[in-house]
Symmetry: C2
Subunit: 328 residues, 2 copies
């Protein structure tokens, strides 16, 4: 198939999505708005919730285009945008598309690559920054635990905690991820939840209890952490990777654990924190340029690879921010 293609949802996935849940079809760019060429697609776990109608950003139904955050290049000057300008917007997984000018966010062109504005300098970075600033507020000599620690949100949270002087324990699901977390992201401890008993590993790495937890997964890892909270702990609930592929919502930890620790458990949704975006970009660019904040991208090539890459993400097999590059 050639021409202007897009990825559509063919059927609602059952459990972990498979590539056959998606299809490629010829698309129209549309009549209204600024004609853009898609350069990069962001793949994110929350998208799975939309396929089941369980995400606050709305549902994607069978027959509809898959959509997420994109990096695009303006193809024709219009509505104040110059051809060649690089922008970020929510839009369909499609080569060429016209988008409402008001939905286009210019991307600073002095920081390369632009794909960072989908990752460490984009929604995942803002999520991490908001969690650190508004919920966890790390102090030195405190212990921070982060799940899905090699992902773009988790890795940023973990390193911001380290920069603030906290001891940081990352939980991830492969030997490679754990090695990267120690060698590159410079975490104090890592736990490979596929190889170790998480409760025993938390007891070993957090002998004084857990002062802060940034949760990307829910489920049993959340329960294990909650059993070990220190007095006055702060918990940011951000993701539910353990149940995105499930249709029946699970129960959570016993509330007695929150009482015992006098913990403060808060829900974190990045859309509430747009006001922090500029501050986040300035702060994280500075950390990146100083060599204190590492990031990783997991890039697939070509629109056709998007369904498979999304399925890999939902199996936890990505290593770094999952992106689809449409330019190479």
């Amino acid at each position: 198939m050639t021409g202007n293609l897009r990825v559509v949802l063919k059927r609602q996935p059952e459990g972990v999505p498979v590539p056959e849940d998606f299809a490629l079809e010829v698309a129209e760019a549309g009549d209204q708005g600024v004609l853009c060429r898609t350069r990069c697609i962001s793949l994110d776990p929350y998208i799975r919730g939309r396929l089941s109608g369980r995400h606050l950003t709305g549902v994607i139904s069978p027959g509809e285009a898959m959509s997420s955050e994109l990096i695009l290049e303006v193809a024709e000057s219009a509505h104040g945008f110059t051809a060649g300008a690089v922008v970020r917007a929510h839009g369909p997984w499609q080569h060429h598309v016209r988008l409402d000018a008001q939905s286009l966010q210019p991307v600073p062109n002095d920081i390369a690559p632009a794909s960072l504005f989908l990752g460490v300098l984009g929604m995942p970075g803002l999520t991490a920054y908001a969690g650190i600033k508004t919920i966890l507020r790390p102090k030195s000599d405190e212990t921070l635990v982060v799940s899905a620690a090699a992902g773009p949100v988790g890795a940023t949270v973990a390193q911001l905690g380290r920069i603030a002087g906290s001891r940081v324990v990352g939980i991830a699901g492969s030997v490679d991820k754990c090695r990267w977390l120690v060698d590159v992201a410079e975490l104090d401890e890592v736990i490979n939840y596929r190889r170790e008993n998480v409760r025993e590993a938390l007891d070993r790495t957090c002998p004084k209890g857990i002062d802060m937890y940034f949760d990307n997964v829910g489920g049993d890892v959340l329960a294990a952490v909650m059993e070990r909270l220190a007095h006055g702990a702060r918990v940011a609930l951000c993701g539910l990777m353990s149940q995105y592929n499930s249709d029946s919502p699970l129960s959570g930890p016993n509330p007695g654990l929150i009482i015992r620790a006098r913990a403060c458990v808060q829900g974190l949704v990045v859309y509430d924190h747009e006001a922090l975006r500029n501050e986040m970009q300035t702060a994280l660019v500075e950390e990146i340029q100083a060599g204190r904040l590492a990031f990783r991208e997991d890039v697939s090539r070509g629109l056709e690879s998007a369904p498979d890459a999304f399925c890999r993400l939902m199996r936890g097999e990505n290593f770094g921010k999952a992106l689809v590059d449409l330019e190479s």
Copy 2:
């Protein structure tokens, strides 16, 4: 049996305690400290946790005296206390006892009855006040839901919410309690959880969602409330009445509910808030004297009645602050 008697735990209760779990026996007042005569015993749900070794204030083992907060009268002048002085202290359920002078808290003698310092002006009042001040921070036009609303903590929370201008919905377990909550405590709505479907009743009474929840019970009522949290909700987790009689800790609500509402869920333990006690007493005495804060006591007579009264409390059959009066 006559003389100086005390109540001891005879055996660890299974499930809901029964009077046969306790025994009366002759006691010694002891050799050290200030000789006191017990006037009033506080019965509180947290005591049940101590009988199973599951409360942070420690365990009461079979053969040991039952203990809790007491109002006592100093029987012999000693260590700076004058005979006849009225004090509050933690101590055994026993007629006469010597207690360490440092553990005795003088009770203001210009506010009668002294039993209020076990209830609305004591630990339950401080619990309620701390929850309102440090976690819920009620605003007018917000909706506050309180479980076990006719108990001394719940009734105080509910009325402080009403005084702050919030709409208040109380959940209680009898027609009499619900009537008192409307007629005397002047709540906006009540739900009788034994007669109504709690989810339907919450939908009816909280059409805009629940901005604040003060939880004394855990279990399914907590789950039902969490499903209905408004954006930015605050939840104070304080009690677990639904599981005090159970030996297996239960699971809690799905963490996705906390994320969706961006809620802040905090554990509340009264022992952390001693610094608020004087402020609480001043504030609540003022509300009581102004006729804005109602309270109720559920008084049993005589030390012998304590086991039965405690068992009634743990069956949820008390109506007001459960006390044992040793003077009448």
